[in-house]
């Protein structure tokens, strides 16, 4: 049980709602089934294209080199995987993993269109139970995915297990704005504009309301840092981006 996850023996958060732990994965799947086709377009609209810059910095922090193996969890539509594919080259490997089949399907199609599947394996997997050997991965990234995982601590431990010693995990996730003024503007935007945009583009306001709620229920920078350390990682740190709206946490397997 993890206090940061608000996870009790039988219930957990699903946005602002409490649901049975066993039900959460299914509810999250419904959300992403609904938004998969328009996911990238919505990301661009909701963030004003900023998600590309957040991901760009995450890739810089990964310090991935040619020949390495990278696991992109909750990789969805494969934008990070495509970039890593170029960095690891023909001698390396990228594993694009997501629990949601609809998102993976969109991602695989995009990667085929880009001609980037040569060194990419596409795997449907749950972040809490990664189906990979111990000490087999050089770098793990999870971008905007950890907050949807039922037991985040378990997922971080699973990542620790599959990472090679010296390998690193990078968690890119929405976080807590550092300025109270920005926080108010951000709240107004998330709970008014976001569902309205979702309704207009995907005809699904509820899924985007869930996204906004799940961001608020996600641990802030310091709490997540503690969780990464508790999972066993060392030399842990985080970088705030766009005033703390997003943060990228880094941990190294000692």
């Amino acid at each position: 049980m993890s206090s940061q996850d608000n996870l009790t023996d039988d219930t957990t958060d699903f946005g602002y709602e409490r649901v049975k732990t066993a039900e959460k994965a299914g509810r999250v799947r419904e959300v992403f089934d609904s938004v998969a086709a328009q996911y990238d377009l919505m990301n661009d609209l909701m963030s004003g294209g900023l998600h590309r810059l957040w991901k760009r910095f995450t890739i810089e922090l990964s310090a991935v080199r040619s020949g390495q193996t990278v696991l992109d969890i909750a990789g969805g539509t494969g934008d990070l995987a495509a970039k890593f594919s170029k960095l690891v080259g023909a001698d390396g490997k990228v594993i694009l993993a997501d629990i949601n089949a609809a998102m993976l399907s969109v991602g695989r199609d995009r990667l085929i269109d880009k001609g980037a599947l040569n060194n990419i394996d596409v795997v449907q997997a749950d972040a809490q139970f990664l189906p990979f050997e111990d000490n087999s991965i050089d770098c793990i990234t999870i971008a905007f995915g950890l907050r949807n995982v039922t037991d985040k601590a378990k997922a971080l431990r699973s990542m620790y297990r599959v990472l090679k010693p010296g390998g690193r995990v990078l968690v890119l996730e929405f976080s807590k704005p550092t300025s109270p003024l920005l926080s108010k503007v951000y709240d107004a935007y998330s709970f008014s504009a976001l569902p309205a945009m979702g309704k207009l583009i995907t005809d699904d306001a509820d899924s985007y309301r869930y996204l906004a709620e799940s961001i608020r229920k996600h641990p802030d920078q310091e709490s997540l840092l503690e969780m990464v350390e508790d999972a066993g990682f060392v030399d842990c740190r985080y970088h705030n981006m766009t005033g703390g709206i997003v943060a990228v946490h880094r941990g190294i397997k000692g």
Binding site: R52, L53, W54, F57, E60, A63, R65
Partner: protein, 215 residues
């Protein structure tokens, strides 16, 4: 003050896009850049504190990043003011070598890169032709060339005529020989004043010694 990585990433992306476009439109540049791989230049601005890395990729592409863990081939260090001086100098290479910017590491590939940048010959007609076809594209490029030529000539002529007007007709500023003569006269006056001052000091000293002898 810590910089927001997203802002730096945005600036890096914009610069990278412009460079990529310039390289794409300059035939032969990409293959020359390929030979410089794996050159990494670390640009360390000490004031304000900022680090940027410029890397040449295997395919000849240029990558700009704010974070890298691999050791840079060459380190360029200086303040923002030093870098601005280099960027605005008529001969940036000479300004880089003779200025306050410190360079360490292997500078040979840096010089090669500077030669490649100097040889950059951007075929800006190509994207116009690609967008609107070879016939109209070429015509439009000719019109742009004519406008650029004419505006360049006009700019040079205006500059010359304006300086002539300021000096000769408007008498708003004195001509150079007049200024030189004035400065010579001022220098002469300064010298003469200095001489008078030292002469006065000597007379005062003598007067003081004479007064002491009488008493």
């Amino acid at each position: 003050m810590e910089h927001d990585p997203a802002v730096i990433a945005g600036a890096s992306l914009a610069i990278e896009t412009v460079i990529a476009k310039a390289v794409e439109l300059s035939p032969g540049t990409q293959s020359r850049l390929k030979q410089l791989h794996p050159l990494t230049i670390e640009i360390h601005c000490t004031q304000p504190a900022l680090e940027m890395f410029v890397g040449v990729e295997e395919d000849g592409g240029i990558q700009i990043a704010s974070y890298r863990e691999t050791k840079a081939t060459v380190l360029i260090e200086g303040t923002w003011r030093d870098f601005s001086r280099v960027a605005t100098a008529s001969d940036p290479a000479a300004a880089l070598i003779n200025g306050d910017v410190k360079i360490s590491g292997d500078t040979a590939p840096l010089m090669q890169l500077q030669t490649i940048v100097g040889d950059l010959d951007i075929d800006w007609e190509a994207p116009i032709v690609n967008a609107i076809g070879p016939v109209f594209g070429h015509q439009l490029a000719e019109v742009i060339r004519a406008i650029t030529r004419t505006s360049g000539k006009t700019h040079r002529r205006m500059k010359r005529q304006l300086s002539e007007f300021i000096l000769e007709e408007g008498r708003l500023s004195p001509p150079k020989p007049e200024l030189d003569s004035f400065f010579t006269a001022v220098d002469d006056l300064v010298l003469r004043t200095d001489r008078i001052e030292s002469r006065l000091k000597r007379i005062k000293k003598r007067a003081a010694s004479l007064t002491g002898a009488i008493e």
